[in-house]
């Protein structure tokens, strides 16, 4: 291929880093394979670990269009693939009638032409842009939709083609880069997974999370960043219903900066805990003495480290 795809795993690592995405080498390997072998990449993981972000960074770094299909229950062909522009069709029929056009087949050909076709994300993804580059197709939260759509997706993903009964089969000259994400609110059928490279996006370790924060919130004081990361890492070892993701860590750091904090203290933690934890039980569990305890551990750890 003549495109600008990265040529090695290292190149993928660099590309993601330039796009402000700090990734493990394992993720880079999976992504490289998906790009190189032209298969979708299936990303599964808890909410807020940066799955969707990969699609965005990829499209930016490669200079491709990003086409995003947000899934929801009841997603159907008319909102995912294509729809006919009925009002325009009606007008066209009336005009044909008024001008005395009687040939039925002619009318039919006319109103079921591409002119009246409204293209939705999946159909758009089969088209290359002006420079001949296929787009990045991000199918977000596939687990939210239902099995019938999954089954439909199988055809699209294996042949990159869509059949429109009135027109025929539309096939991509160049297959798009496909990223599928799932929060695992239900299991996706194996038939889909089989066609993809699979990767479980995990919470980052402390070192990686620190890197991420430095990239994402560069103006945060060093000490605060370290405290935030250690605090969140401690939280992830607790028995909570929903552990904070990377997105929450970033939000929290931003919130703390807005509050003009340069140092974590128990009071600040208590008042801003809602940014980090999203369930009342979890907040209740951590707030107060537990938060103070974690903070002590964090500070002791930092003191010992320096």
């Amino acid at each position: 291929m003549t495109d600008n795809l990265p040529a090695s795993v290292d190149a993928v690592v660099d590309m993601l880093r330039d796009g402000n995405y700090v990734a493990d080498r394992s993720l880079s390997t999976a992504l490289y394979l998906a790009l190189k072998l032209g298969r979708p990449l299936f990303l599964e993981g808890e909410a807020g670990v940066g799955k969707t972000e990969i699609g965005k960074v990829l499209s930016e770094s490669l200079g491709r269009r990003l086409i995003r299909l947000q899934c929801y229950e009841g997603l159907d062909v008319s909102s995912a693939v294509y729809e006919w522009n009925y009002s325009m069709q009606m007008i066209d029929i009336r005009i044909a009638e008024a001008s005395g056009q009687q040939d039925r087949e002619r009318i039919e050909d006319d109103i079921f032409s591409e002119r009246f076709l409204i293209k939705r994300p999946l159909l758009q993804a089969l088209e290359s842009d002006e420079s001949g580059q296929p787009p990045v197709l991000l199918i977000d939260e596939l687990d939210r939709t239902d099995e019938p759509f999954e089954a439909f997706l199988l055809e699209v993903l294996s042949d990159f083609q869509v059949t429109i009964p009135e027109i025929g089969t539309v096939k991509a000259d160049k297959p798009p880069i496909v990223i599928i994400t799932s929060n695992r609110t239900r299991e996706i059928h194996d038939a889909i997974k089989r066609r993809c490279f699979y990767f479980w996006v995990d919470y980052p370790n402390a070192k990686r999370e620190l890197e991420i924060l430095k990239v994402k919130v560069p103006d945060a004081p060093e000490k605060l960043t370290q405290q935030v990361v250690d605090f969140v890492q401690h939280l992830r070892n607790r028995d909570l219903f929903k552990l904070p993701g990377v997105a929450e860590t970033i939000d929290w750091t931003n919130a703390l900066i807005q509050l003009d904090k340069i140092n974590l203290d128990p009071e600040t933690v208590n008042s801003s805990l809602g940014v980090l934890l999203k369930y009342q039980d979890d907040i209740e569990k951590i707030k107060g003495s537990e938060a103070a305890k974690i903070l002590d551990e964090v500070n002791a750890g930092i003191a010992a480290g320096t």
Partner: protein, 424 residues
């Protein structure tokens, strides 16, 4: 968590060997590795092995870590397979002798003989899978080979709490056989709920523009007959949580039959058993053959007829499963007598959470057959405030009544319990 276990960065002898191999040898090795994983229970077919070879060729074999993750991306497609893959990788690609031997043999022994019962421990399972490749006559390995073992999520079982394989045979009387037959024919027609999908309809609901357009053309465009569509309905997902502790043991077998009948009748049924721990038995119950299904369930469950820790089991369910199986408005059936070893500690919180995450929570309690039943036990008191409906379940009649009740559209939540409490 999901990390490669630390390995030294030097190439192991196996890898050095691999580096010297040309591609002709690489492919067979990957094939054998794939076969080992397959024998250990991962669903790997020939297509995957070709994919894996392509993946490795694409990434190159300069770094062990890239090699690892390339194979990982192809062979693993569920998170819980990671552990098994990790162990297999390190055993397979580290042992140079094994590798050499395989270069010599290239073809593993052909599977034969009868299948031994499945084994739970992943490492042993792997060893046996690896030993399929091994045809040294003097090896100490067992003769038997495993063909296929179901991989379940509970791979980390280490110590067995109360290994009492349940003796179902005692219960086998003519009456029970009759009952089983009756249960096998039972259907669970839960009221269907509206989905967001449409289907064609005669009565007017919404105009189906696409169908209208086609009909208009058919008539030549003179008239435009309106076509309609309405929302499709479909039964909601069903999640059954069944208590299998000692106090419930007299009923367990019946319930298993019932759950099997329900599972095979419709899609989107998930079944969990709990005593002191929670086991997901959905996959076993999908087996059409009831005896095979029950046999597999018996093997998978570690805590038959032991104590009950409802709170802890529900905590497990809420933490690890509720987001995965309660997604689309599921109905939850909890089968338990509510007698809890932990005296209801933490139970009300877990019940509340469970109640909030599902469409409808129905509690089936065999104790309810006693007329003078009083909700005295702490476990029962903790559960009651959070259920929508409370029903007896101890004989065929009550099961049939249950079916009738589920077939009616549910009233306001908690109505059933309120009625029951006021009737007392």
């Amino acid at each position: 968590m999901m990390a490669e276990t630390p390995i030294n960065t030097d190439l192991t002898p196996g890898m050095q060997l691999l580096n010297r191999l040309d591609d002709n040898k690489l492919a067979p090795n990957i094939m054998h590795f794939g076969r080992v994983l397959r024998a250990a229970g991962l669903p790997i077919g020939p297509g995957k092995i070709i994919d894996a070879t392509n993946a490795v060729l694409a990434v190159g074999i300069n770094s062990r870590s890239d090699f690892y993750w390339a194979l990982h991306a192809v062979f693993v497609n569920r998170r819980d397979q990671h552990e098994l893959f990790d162990q297999a990788f390190h055993i397979f690609w580290k042992d140079p002798k094994l590798l050499e031997r395989m270069m010599g043999i290239l073809l593993p022994t052909i599977d034969g003989g009868e299948e031994p019962p499945p084994d739970e421990q992943p490492l042993r399972r792997l060893q046996e899978a690896l030993s399929q490749q091994d045809d040294r006559p003097d090896s100490e390995q067992e003769e038997e080979q495993e063909e296929e073992i179901e991989l379940d999520a509970a791979m980390t079982v280490s110590e067995r709490e109360l290994l009492q394989t349940m003796d179902f045979e005692e219960m086998s009387t003519a009456e029970i056989d009759d009952a089983k037959r009756a249960i096998a024919g039972m259907r669970l027609p839960i009221t269907e709920i509206q989905t967001r999908r449409y289907k064609a309809s005669q009565r007017q609901a919404r105009v189906d523009m696409r169908a209208t357009m086609r009909a208009a053309l058919r008539s030549g465009g003179d008239t435009i007959p309106l076509k309609f569509r309405r929302r499709r309905t479909r039964p909601p997902p069903l999640v059954i949580l069944c208590d299998i502790s000692g106090s419930m043991s007299r009923y367990t077998r019946m319930f298993l039959h019932f759950m099997h009948a329900v599972t095979n009748d419709r899609d989107r049924v998930h079944t969990f058993l709990f005593g002191t721990r929670l086991t997901n038995v959905t996959r076993y119950l999908r087996n059409k053959d009831i005896d095979l299904a029950i046999e597999q369930v018996t093997d998978a469950v570690e805590d038959w007829s032991g104590g009950t820790r409802i709170g802890e089991s529900l905590n497990d369910f809420n933490k690890f499963w509720s987001r995965r199986v309660l997604g689309q408005g599921a109905i939850v059936i909890l089968i338990s007598d509510g007698l809890d070893r932990d005296a209801g500690r933490g139970l009300n919180l877990e019940m509340e959470r469970l109640h909030k995450s599902c469409r409808r929570l129905i509690w089936l309690n065999p104790l309810l057959r006693f007329d003078g039943f009083q909700p005295k036990s702490q476990g029962i008191q903790a559960i009651l405030p959070s259920v929508d409906e409370f029903r007896p379940v101890h004989n065929l009649t009550s099961l049939e009544e249950l079916i009738g009740a589920l077939n009616r559209p549910g009233g306001p939540r908690k109505q059933g319990v309120q009625e029951w409490l006021t009737a007392m």
